[in-house]
């Protein structure tokens, strides 16, 4: 089995995870910028974080032979402070020059507030001006449906944004269709409690076109499993899917989307 982990917050994981992922067939890991579990007090804190994502973490992954790529942004959980967001967004263009950067992400909404919407629009504008791929976080639980609709509206209203260059993540049964119908890619996140289980993920793969779907573990410092993607691959085989179908979903699909960024170089 080979797979790409397109969404994992490795800065909050131990090197055991790197070793296990490589042993399970991981060919590349992609790390979106996210909330640290507390609000950073200044833009300087983000500067250090972006340096970690573009310099230190790729080196840590390389020790295990795993190519590491990053996405940059201010996470929606910290978007309530628009002034801080402006300062952080001003830092990002400098880091876009790094060879492991894939685009702007994970932007999006958390509680669907007006300030979150403002900061989302600023991120979308930044991505459009710098011709970057976009990775979008959709809100949790009861906020997901409304948030996903608001995000799709923001993205569709900007004519510079090509849906095929945007992945909207954390879809579930009530949002996957609206994301795919709008022409975007959709990510299914495998979590033990919230988001989606392997069985439900495969249900969605079987019911909707899997052409623009990918799976990810989004592992971080919370309850999550860095091996959720290969475990779901095994579940696919137990359900009767072929090795070829599993490879398309776990490796070829994320490879196809991410290869739109010239920095993403992973042999097929």
């Amino acid at each position: 089995m080979r797979y790409i982990e397109p969404h994992a917050h490795m800065v909050s994981r131990t090197t055991d995870d790197y070793a296990a992922m490589v042993a399970s067939g991981c060919q590349a890991v992609c790390e979106p910028a996210f909330w640290a579990g507390f609000d950073r007090r200044s833009a300087q804190g983000f500067y250090d974080y972006f340096a970690q994502l573009t310099d230190y973490e790729p080196k840590r992954a390389a020790k295990y032979g795993l190519p590491h790529f990053s996405w940059l942004c201010l996470n929606p959980k910290e978007s309530e402070d628009v002034k801080l967001a402006d300062e952080v967004l001003a830092l990002i263009p400098e880091f876009l020059q790094h060879p492991n950067v894939l685009g702007i992400g994970e932007i999006g909404l958390n509680k669907n507030s007006r300030n979150e919407m403002i900061v989302l629009e600023k991120h979308v504008d930044l991505a459009a001006r710098h011709d970057q791929l976009i990775l979008v976080h959709t809100p949790h639980l009861e906020d997901k449906l409304k948030g996903t609709k608001l995000i799709v509206d923001v993205l569709k209203s900007d004519r510079r944004i090509k849906p095929g260059r945007v992945i909207i993540d954390h879809v579930e049964e009530h949002t996957v269709q609206l994301v795919l119908d709008a022409g975007f890619w959709a990510g299914i996140t495998l979590y033990p409690d919230s988001k989606c289980t392997p069985a439900r993920a495969i249900d969605m793969v079987e019911q909707y076109s899997a052409e623009r779907l990918w799976l990810n573990c989004a592992c971080d410092w919370g309850q999550s499993d860095s091996l959720a993607v290969p475990k779901t691959g095994r579940e696919m085989l137990k359900r009767g899917h072929s090795v070829a179908a599993m490879d398309r979903l776990l490796f070829q699909n994320p490879h196809r989307f991410l290869s739109q960024c010239p920095n993403f170089v992973v042999p097929t």
Partner: protein, 275 residues
Amino acid sequence: MANIGSLEQAMLPRWHRNQMSATLVPMNTDARLLQHLDGLLRTQGATDDALLAVLDQVLKHFDCVTGTIHALNRTSGLLELRAQRCIPPVIMDKVSRIPVGKGMAGLAAQRKEPVQVCNLRTDTSGQAKPGAKETKMEGSIALPMLVDKAVLRGVLGVAKPVAYEFTAAEQGLLLQLGELIGRHFGLATKPAVLDHYFIEVRAKLIEVAAFLDRVDRAEGEDDYRIQAFRAALKQLESNQPERAKQILLTLSDPTTGPIPAAKGKSASGAYPGKE
């Protein structure tokens, strides 16, 4: 290799059980053919190339010249040709889509049992279409691809250029091959889904019941979360499709506009009804 207990064997997926037994008992040619073709389809899926490779192996094994694999299109009800060898171009139109009940393949699908003609050229039974004589074949058989003995997925057909009657043992192997191919023509059957998930989901159902009992025993008032939970439970009893989607919708914020400001960062899992 140590023998494993019968209960442990029963808990393994069916294909795995077959593999286990295959390692305990020396495999004969038939078992090797089944295992080889199963591996081929598991690796490649039911692609046109894979099906043609499977058909070629089946024809070789039975010393046949002509063969077809049809898949049942559940929407149209027609048998659609997925792979063939030595079907003359003049009858390809008729062979490419076959209504259930018509010709040998259609009859095998309708009856869910093998349909055999010892000599196509001289047959007067009416089971074969007149065009079948164009194949120049004589001994011919069509077999339903029955998964879990009940779910029709298609029809496998093979034929020889000489008069021939396929034995019961040969028919048995061809039926097994048909089931094997048929498994790759669709999603898991109901028995397979139940084998796979029933125990796991049964445990979750009891967890839900115990949770409701626990909430009832606890002191204090119900809040919006348990009210939303009980509303969502009604979706489980519905016979409508997409229950998971409907439950997620029931638990979602139904409003459409942004809220003035985020007062916290976390979500509770149910819409409280007000900000």
